[in-house]
Symmetry: C2
DNA sequence: TAGATTGTTAATCGATTAACAATC
DNA sequence: TAGATTGTTAATCGATTAACAATC
């Protein structure tokens, strides 16, 4: 290997990692607009972040560094960030549960950019068999363990109903998965050393709703009478034809 | 109003809120199994959490409290948590972008439990018009502002492609939304006081992948030759017919 | 030189965990 | 009484922000 530094991942906080895509997006569009240099101040203002945080984040993923007075060279930053995402990551996942959410994830094009790939979907529903989403095929559940093992997949994604999640999880573990991304709203029991990341859509929306209530108390929780009517009549669709 | 306490939301950390559903799920199934009492120790072990954290979390959402030696009364905890979720929250949202992800969210049944409801979807695609997912109808985008205003909706959900997100966001703000749940991987510019919660699926998976790399370095990034074959031939589907 | 900007060291803040006193 | 358990107060940890010295 010819990397200048240890290719093992430097400890970069999750929060930083989550912000990286926003930096990349901003820098790419700035570059497209013809800008060549930028500063932490400018980025921070654009993305609503703290200036120092921007510097620390950029320092964490880019070796280019900025220079006093002139700031950062956008082109370099972009390429460093792309390297960071692409080079440091190259992982494959299987997905179980080809419902709406499963299909959405299979179809999602954004994983590529991060060196991530869902290679196949699994489902127990006969009707789904052999269907393809974004060129990812749906296989029967009874092939899950065997295929995942043979493909050497390390990440399993669970998008089945809560009741089926633990069973699927067990299969994924048996198949050798080391990390599980769980969209079912249940706690999964896994052996020591297996990593589970829970994603609860309802809980996320709840968080937003609570923030709202904190800041704005109760407004607009009235008018319930008229809207049922509006929505159900479908009258809102008029004028469209 | 006849509530025993100020109905405004007590400051409960986001982390705590995210854990609440897991407590509820565990407690409900314990109750179903016939258990009447439990302790923070037991819960912590079951859900892989710290014991003290469990006590603090439960204290935050339940007034019942536990008693030394006997612990908590599960029935009371369950009812307190359900109240916490249901009573403290009652918010409605509109969703824009009826692609795979949009449909998945519209179809998701889990919001009810938290007093949350997506009331309608919007899309620019003619073909989607009037379709229903989980009884939520898709309306044309040009009705978004008017309908959202009239319905007094405070939360907007953006599941459109990145390029369309800012435009949709502007419409939602114009329509009076105070909070935006954004699934498009771009930073949204909003006026002061509007809350944006970003959800980046790719970034979430990236986090998982990075954890993996930290803990297990590089294993199983081989065998790339044979699997393309397996998957593409669809031979894995044999034996199914 | 003066001023903009970086990067680092120190302070603050919030959440988790540990220690412990209270109680049944 | 002894032991399990709660709830609180203090310590730790990690991330964000502020202060500041270095530099072009």
């Amino acid at each position: 290997m010819m990397s200048t530094r240890d290719s093992s991942i430097t400890p970069i906080s999750n929060q930083t990692v989550k912000r990286i895509p926003f930096y990349l997006g901003y820098l790419q569009s700035a570059l497209a607009a013809g800008t060549e240099n930028t500063s932490a101040t400018v980025i921070a203002r654009a993305l609503n972040l703290n200036e120092v945080q921007v510097r620390k984040d950029l320092a964490a993923v880019s070796q280019s560094g900025g220079r006093p007075r002139t700031g950062y060279v956008i082109k370099d930053l972009v390429s460093d960030i792309e390297d960071f995402l692409g080079l440091n990551n190259n992982d494959e996942a299987v997905l179980v549960g080809a419902g709406h959410l499963g299909k959405a994830l299979l179809s999602y094009k954004g994983f590529d950019e991060y060196g991530l790939k869902i290679v196949a979907g699994f489902d127990s529903d006969e009707a789904a068999m052999g269907m393809e989403y974004n060129e990812k095929m749906i296989f029967p559940l009874n092939k899950l363990v065997d295929l995942t093992k043979r493909l050497n997949i390390r990440i399993g994604i669970i998008t089945v109903p809560a009741g089926a999640a633990q069973g699927v999880c067990d299969m994924l573990v048996e198949a050798g998965c080391l990390a599980i991304w769980n969209f079912a709203p249940v706690h999964l029991n896994v052996p020591e050393g297996i990593m589970v990341q829970n994603e609860n859509m309802a809980a996320s929306l709840l968080l937003l709703s609570r923030h709202l209530q904190e800041h704005f108390s109760h407004e607009g929780i009235q008018g319930k009478t008229e809207w049922e009517e509006i929505l159900e009549s479908g009258s809102a669709l008029d004028g469209q034809r």
